[in-house]
Amino acid sequence: MLKRAIAAAAIVATAVACAPPQADTTDEGADRSSGELKVWLFQEASNGPKEDVVDQAIAEFEAAHDDVKVNVEYLPVDGRASRFNGAFNDPDSAPDVAEFGNTDLAGYVASNGFADLSGDLDQWPDAADLVPEVLDTAKIDGRTYGVPWFTGTRALYYRTDVFTELGLEPPATLAELTTTARAIRAAKPDMYGIAVGGKYLFALLPYVWANGGDIAERDGDAWSATIDTPEARAGLAQYAELLRPDICPPAQCAQLTGSQTVAAFAGGKAAMAIGGDFNRAAVDAGAVKDDYAVVPLPGTEPGSIAPAFAGGNLLGVFGSSERRTLGWEFVTLLGGKEYQRKMYDAMGTMPTFADVQDEIAIDDPFLAPFIETVQAGTRFVPATPAWTRIDAQAVLPTAVQQVATGRQDVDTATSAAAAEMDAAFAGS
């Protein structure tokens, strides 16, 4: 009897819970104008100056709104996926406003994570001054889900003392960059000609783009990999060429990430590096702070600039927020011109408004090569949720590493990468 009862209970339990759990997203929620506004921002390497700017914005916001309390939590960038996914699965634990990376946007939108702000943006006069290509990184299928808070572009850092000593000029083409790097390591065997990394995707991408290729293309709703086209292969081959014993030995460089290559440059171990405007503080804190300069990363022809990846962070309002209007007002304050300028003063982050960019470029020659790069045209990774998977499975870094270690040739490695990307696009 007991056994039968247990069996019956088991069958009932199976019938009741026979599907994996799903969050309930039917609740539209209210739009309250008071109470606690929860904000998630990223924790930076030295977060103090950022907190000061944010605290000013909060004080201003709370003074202008009665009965509103803004609570900020700083999240580590590395653990962001589990926090954001958790917030999408359980709206009760979600914030109202969040800062997030623009490469994560497509995945978040596929999870209904963020509110469509297109209408609000049309009403906001300052939005007209946002750099169009940067604003594009906040759009999925024509809808805008965030305000670009700051943007990040990469260019070529080089050691002025080493170049002067060896009588070298900054390279005018990517091919010249390779020969220059080789010449430096031949003269200074302790130094990498250029610090590049097998895991440094955002240094690989300009090589692919400059050679006329791309990693994927969109046709209607479908994406397909193009990393196996001749142009893209030429770009990947040219990048992998740098991961050689006579420039940046694979045993040391195949595992390096972007920030590790910048650290190698800052520590005096490399004559060149591909770094962002946001890496300035790290380089200035290193041994080479008085001996470096920056030029745009050259393209394949003299005088051209390799298209850079348009990185950056957005401020958005969570779809599940019960304080949507309040959240949008806070986004326009913290993401507005005044506080973008303050963020630049405090953190050196590049603003996303064209007029604010021009204003700071006048007094800051350091930014000139980065702004020149942005104005020459930037590109972006495929704006599809499949990108999260392609990125997480390190499909492109794996291809570079296979070539750099000599285990596969460029054709085999890029074909394998294209197959994996296509599987991700197809969702299988």
Binding site: A17, Q22, A23, F88, A110, S111, Q252, Q402
Partner: protein, 310 residues
């Protein structure tokens, strides 16, 4: 969880006479076991059940947050997984890697237990302190300490060996070897303490009797000491198999998430990359189910083999 070594007395069948009290005993036993079984069901059976259910669905982040409909796939996730050559490569690497770690920690642990049972109190205490230190070190901290020791530019190992600039994590076998050494280092103390307790528990009379019968040291070790230690050895082996098959932290930290071009992936890290980083929870759950089945069958086979030989 010590195994019961007292054999059941055969041929004693008093069942009919003791039916009444036995039923009462069964009820009492059920009552005593109830709290444990509630906790086990809640914390073990239910998650395991969910794992199996999720493995039958196309379950990614959009599905979890309710933005996309659930699609029942049946065994598609398993078909995808078993049809992926990388899975078989990773599985083979995991089996070999775990075997090396298990054998390594058993050998080192047992050898040091024998050493400890013969050493003087002071060196024995030092040995135990060193072993307990390794045991108490969190996996994350231990992995980083080993990485620092073997750092290509600043590591003490390269400095002593004069190998400046040599990368220990670049070649596949070198990287696996380094991680295996770290795992043996942090898991031998358990084996050592267990075996030491077993050796100390052997009655001196038994050894004396063996000596009186003229058994050599080897004969005493293989015919007297080892059979007595077998139950403990079995526990240590099963524990080590389970731990080393499921290793995650050391590989993840020391090879930077699976090594150059994924050459140092083991099953657990592979599942993590697929399930959490790649947000394919259904496929990740299928890997989890396969791993659970594999571990249960390895353990089951081993326990049966041990029962038969003893």
């Amino acid at each position: 969880m010590l195994p019961q070594v007292t054999p059941a007395a055969p041929g004693v069948r008093t069942r009919p006479a003791r039916r009444g009290p036995q039923r009462g005993q069964a009820r009492a036993a059920a009552l005593y076991l109830l709290p444990t079984s509630v906790i086990l069901l809640g914390l073990l059976a239910y998650p395991l059940y969910q794992l199996v259910v999720i493995s039958f669905y196309d379950y990614g982040q959009p599905q979890a947050s309710g933005a996309a409909p659930l699609v029942f796939l049946g065994f598609d996730n398993y078909v995808t997984l078993l049809g992926d050559p990388q899975f078989w490569d990773v599985l083979a690497a995991t089996v070999v890697f775990a075997a090396v770690c298990v054998v390594g920690s058993l050998l080192v642990g047992t050898a040091l237990a024998v050493l400890a049972s013969r050493a003087n109190p002071l060196p024995r205490m030092l040995l135990f302190l060193a072993a307990l230190g390794a045991w108490a070190t969190p996996a994350m901290a231990g992995s980083y300490v080993w990485l620092f020791m073997f750092d290509q530019d600043f590591g003490i190992v390269n400095e002593v060996l004069g190998l400046a600039g040599h990368s220990w994590t670049f070649e596949r076998f070198s990287a696996f070897g380094l991680v295996a050494a770290e795992i043996v280092w942090c898991s031998f103390p358990f084996v050592m303490v267990t075996m030491y307790a077993g050796i100390k528990a052997i009655a001196p009379e038994v050894l004396e009797a063996a000596a009186l019968d003229g058994a050599s040291a080897t004969r005493t070790a293989t015919s007297v000491i080892l059979p007595i230690l077998r139950p403990l050895l079995m526990i240590a082996t099963i524990q080590s198999i389970i731990w080393d098959f499921k290793v995650f932290t050391q590989i993840y930290v020391m090879t930077g998430g699976g090594g150059v071009a994924g050459q140092n992936l083991v099953l657990n890290v592979f599942a993590y990359q697929k399930a959490f980083a790649g947000e394919q929870y259904g496929l990740g759950a299928a890997i989890g189910v396969v791993m659970t089945v594999l571990l249960l069958s390895i353990t089951g086979l081993y326990v049966r083999a041990q029962r038969r030989t003893s």
